[in-house]
């Protein structure tokens, strides 16, 4: 189908009053949780899954996408006003943005990050709209062995290639894969790792794992280190508006950030960290006043923020066209699709174009809403940061457990939630990344069934994995991506030098 026609059709779906309302709720919630320290977009989608399964799928997915985009906007507000970036993707923003806020230029810092996010989000969503049909045409020809190989690439890039330590990243991934094995094997009906506990036969609920790791784990971790320094909130001083000079210094970093963010997000490479730091170091090199970097240079906020948002949109490309999540939030959105029995991929584009294109079109609307919500209303969001920490985390835990209580009010399920919470705490303490666990749980069973399907077709001959040129290439990429960090050990260390 022609992209313009499809997009116009999607726009007609997205502007239906109910869908506009869902988008508004999504961006509102997303911004709020992005601003609040301790909860991110992945957790919010996880908390909403049990609440939304009775709602209309199209509307809920529009809401989830709004949360995803909104979380990116809100996270930058926290990074600028308190020097504690909620997620690693906001780290670059915190470097310069917090310095600007301390120097009384918090207003322009917030403005350049919001407008930059808008510019990047809009361009990247256009990119998504044009890239998706092309990729779908390509993906229709994928056999099960190609899908399996693709998932291997995603596993490796998400856990090993771009993290701090490939060993710890892979450890997280394999814990996720182990959890994914629990339950009844769909092909033979045999129970694996259930130990005779009936609740385990259905497998580990993605929401229970995500809420335990993200909400309970985070609360335990923050509580354990409360005796360390308190966070300090910088008040927004001075004008919110950017001067002419600010605009001149911002627009190029916005565009360059978008160019870094979108392709890296769209490749199954995972994470917004790499593009934001690439953008930061590029801006520093290209800046007319490089001496300002480290003291509050507006380019250092504009570029990484744009890269961050563009990569969020980029992540939706593999998610929608291949069903391949490369970030924790994308993984939760995939769980959102699954709870309605929908599987993102080429088939979904053919069977439910209204849903897919309505979702893509609603992203443009969400971006406009977010610009309005974040510029004039920034004072409202700042007030959220004034909630006392004890009530904030107590409230987060009440909502976190409510999701599980509503879905399955059993002692076993709640104990699993608490257990995953302890696991999340220990993983944070010993510096293991969290996202690969969630992705391992969601993608592991899919990868296994694709592999088994491929081997069943080939009558058990594993050479089928190398006979398809696509799958052989992808497996080669996976091997290179796995070995690269060990070979080029210095490569991943540029981050440390930026501080």
């Amino acid at each position: 189908m022609d992209t313009f026609a499809a997009l116009a059709h999607g726009m007609a779906v997205a502007v239906q009053p109910m869908n506009l309302l869902y988008a508004l709720i999504g961006v509102f919630l997303g911004t709020a949780v992005g601003v609040l320290p301790g909860i991110g977009p992945a957790l919010t989608v996880a908390l909403l899954l049990p609440v939304t399964y009775k709602l209309d799928p199209g509307g809920s997915l529009i809401m989830f996408a709004g949360i995803y985009y909104g979380g990116m906007y809100g996270g930058s507000t926290t990074a600028i006003l308190i020097n504690t970036p909620g997620e690693s993707a906001s780290m670059a923003t915190a470097l310069e943005g917090n310095k600007m806020a301390k120097a009384g230029r918090g207003g322009p810092a917030l403005a350049t990050s919001a407008i930059g996010s808008f510019v990047a989000g809009t361009i990247a969503t256009i990119g998504l709209a044009f890239l998706a049909p092309w990729l779908v045409d390509f993906a229709v020809r994928f056999g099960p062995e190609d899908y399996f190989a693709l998932m291997c690439v995603a596993f490796v890039t998400v856990s090993a290639t771009f993290g701090d330590s490939p060993i710890r990243g892979l450890t997280s991934l394999f814990i996720g894969l182990t959890l994914g094995l629990i339950g009844i094997d769909k092909l033979t009906g045999q129970a694996r790792l259930a130990f005779g506990i009936p609740e385990l036969l259905d497998g580990v609920e993605v929401t229970t794992l995500a809420v335990g790791l993200f909400a309970v784990g985070e609360a335990l971790y923050v509580a354990s280190r409360r005796h360390h320094a308190e966070e300090k909130l910088e008040p927004v001083r001075g004008s919110l508006w950017m001067t002419k000079e600010d605009w001149q210094r911002s627009w190029k970093p916005w565009l360059r950030g978008t160019l870094f963010g979108f392709p890296i997000g769209a490749l199954p490479a995972g994470g917004a960290e790499i593009p934001t730091f690439l953008s930061y170091s590029t801006e520093r090199r290209l800046a007319k006043h490089p001496e300002e970097f480290g003291k509050g240079a507006i380019e250092g906020v504009a570029g990484p923020e744009a890269a961050n948002n563009a990569s969020a949109a980029g992540t939706l490309v593999p998610l929608l066209t291949l069903g391949l999540p490369t970030s924790a939030t994308a993984a939760m959105m995939l769980a959102g699709f699954q709870q309605y029995g929908l599987n993102p991929g080429p088939l979904l584009f053919a069977e439910r174009p209204d849903l897919v294109w309505g979702l893509i079109a609603s992203l443009f609307i969400a971006n406009v809403m977010l610009l309005v919500l974040n510029l004039p209303l920034v004072g409202l969001w700042v007030r959220l940061l004034a909630i006392p920490q004890p009530w904030l985390y107590a409230g987060i835990l009440v909502f976190a457990t409510m999701g599980t209580i509503a879905a399955k009010p059993s002692v076993v399920e709640l104990s699993m939630l608490a257990g995953f919470g302890v696991m999340g705490f220990l993983m944070r303490r010993f510096d293991f990344p969290i996202a690969p666990v969630v992705i391992g749980l969601i993608l592991g069973p899919i990868a296994e069934s694709q592999l088994r399907r491929a081997l069943a077709i080939s009558l058990g001959d594993p050479i089928v994995l190398l006979q398809s040129p696509m799958s052989a290439t992808l497996l080669g990429i996976a091997v290179i991506a796995l070995l690269a960090p060990f070979v080029l050990k210095g490569l991943g260390r540029f981050k440390a030098n930026e501080d």
Partner: protein, 164 residues
């Protein structure tokens, strides 16, 4: 900002990170459980791989990772850790245990989540138990009414919920 062992041992050659060794052992144990469980399965598939293949693959991966983690720990290669205070962690876990017990015994949503709210708030340093209890009861009652009545989500009911 002292790490746990840094204070008592001056520049010694690579310190063994005990926690890292424990992590490696846990990973190896997990692999053993996977292998044992896989051995209990019946390989019924005629072609391709049966249900036991994937657990074995994952177990092999876990064993390799256990060794890699062990090497990192023996070399003292783990990132430095800040000191952690165990008391608030235990308090929140006690709150979760209380929540599970109340739900399990049919105490209902409001009492269970209120208990969690108060213990968490205390873990984060609040000492106003009475105020927090009142806030918790009001808040969870409102949540119960909003989600159970308006969104027709079924939350477990106890004595308090039956009064509403």
């Amino acid at each position: 900002m002292t790490t746990e062992e840094a204070s008592n041992s001056p520049p010694a050659p690579p310190r063994i990170d005990r926690a890292g060794v424990v992590i490696a052992i846990v990973l190896a144990a997990l692999a053993a459980v996977l292998l044992w469980d896989a051995s209990q399965l019946q390989a019924t598939t005629m072609y391709g791989m049966g249900p036991q293949a994937m657990p074995v693959i994952v177990a092999v991966g876990l064993i390799i990772l256990a060794i890699a983690n062990l090497i990192d720990a023996l070399r003292g290669n783990l990132p430095p850790r800040e000191s952690a205070d165990p008391k608030p962690v235990l308090l929140i876990l006690a709150g979760l245990a209380l929540l599970i017990a109340i739900i399990g015994l049919g105490g209902g949503f409001i009492l269970a989540t209120s208990a969690l709210f108060v213990t968490t708030s205390a873990a984060f340093g609040r000492r106003a138990l009475v105020t927090d209890t009142i806030i918790a009861l009001v808040m969870t009652t409102l949540i119960y009414l909003a989600f159970d009545r308006l969104l027709t989500l079924s939350l477990p009911a106890g004595p308090l919920e039956r009064l509403l």
